[in-house]
């Protein structure tokens, strides 16, 4: 681990908001970290606890879910349900002695390209500050 730490981040993005916002951020030529792997989901409600856990299990340093603004979910309340699942995963990670900040839930609209870039930068910095996932450290060793 001599070289600079480049976090591996997974972002589950709702196609009605965050994913579209990512497109907009791109066409606005806004900068955000390239090491964020974006997964499009039809609604954040589709994201389950197991998806977040598997991401951590398979070596992601951070995972976040980006859904519509609260009250604006295309499927009424998928984003609200998934906020609870994110809380569950945070609790599980705490129980296992892993920083719960490695998992987060964000809300934004499709028109918020700059906000998408901001979240990506913000979360990227957070994970960079936390350092590599304890799972990766042990594996490297």
């Amino acid at each position: 681990m001599e070289e600079a730490f480049e976090p591996q981040i997974i972002a589950f993005c709702c196609k009605y908001c965050a994913y579209a916002a990512a497109d907009l951020a791109g066409s606005m030529r806004l900068n955000y970290p390239t090491n964020i792997k974006i997964l499009q989901v039809p609604c954040t409600g589709r994201v389950d606890i197991i998806h977040l856990l598997r991401a951590i299990e398979d070596g992601a340093d951070g995972v976040y879910v980006a859904g519509c603004l609260e009250g604006d979910c295309h499927f009424v309340c998928g984003n609200l349900k998934t906020r609870r699942k994110v809380e569950y995963v945070k609790k599980t990670l705490s129980e296992l002695g892993i920083e719960p900040e490695r998992v987060e839930m964000y809300n934004l609209s499709s028109a918020m390209g700059p906000r998408f870039a901001e979240i990506a930068n913000e979360f990227g910095k957070r994970i960079k500050d936390l350092g590599p996932s304890p799972l990766r450290i042990k594996q490297a060793a």
Binding site: D48, I49, I50, L53, R54, I56, E57, T92, L93, E95, L96, G97, I98, P134, L135, K138, Q139, A141
Partner: protein, 222 residues
Amino acid sequence: MIVADRKPLSEIQDMIKGRDNILIIGCKGCVTVCNVGGLKEVRILASSLRIAAKKEGYSLKVDEKVLERQCDPEYIEQVKSTIHDYDAVISMACGVGPQFLSEAYPDQKFFPAVNTTFFGGAVSHGIWEERCAGCGTCVIHYFDGMCPVARCSKSLLNGPCGGSNKGKCEISKDVNCIWDMIVKKKIEQDRLNDLLNFMPAKDWRTARDGGPRTSRREELIQ
């Protein structure tokens, strides 16, 4: 259904300490319905345990399996060929599951991953409440469909006690006084006289107090 709660991860981790190849078996019965021991929960527990192992830097293989039910020998038999491939097996079924598994495979070590709590139902999504104490002699018809044996903290048959307060039980403001509900319903239905009758002491032989129970259905026995 039978309701259960998952044990804390730390307790489950302690159980399997020193073992590196385990199987988690869920159940498609009650524990699936109360979201504690079905396929989803098996996956979550397996992943959580693998994360913990990876974090500590040791290798742990966790396989996942769900049986139709763990309270019937025919389904227990389905894991016969593979059950001995593991150092230990975690059952996510109610308390019946690990026992049926242990009886069928006495050489294997089985651990319960859930605390079985009560017979109840979902009053809303994510909230389950106790409704039945399994006392073996149902009396709910005397109380307009509400069971004081299961739902009164003192199982009073001649309630309510003096601790009933604004519709809540003396043990907690979060617990409804079932006797308050019974009395109110009797008044509403103009059947208060029902409650003036003395309810004699219960015969607890049919409950757990009479010893472990067996239910025999002669017409089915082969």
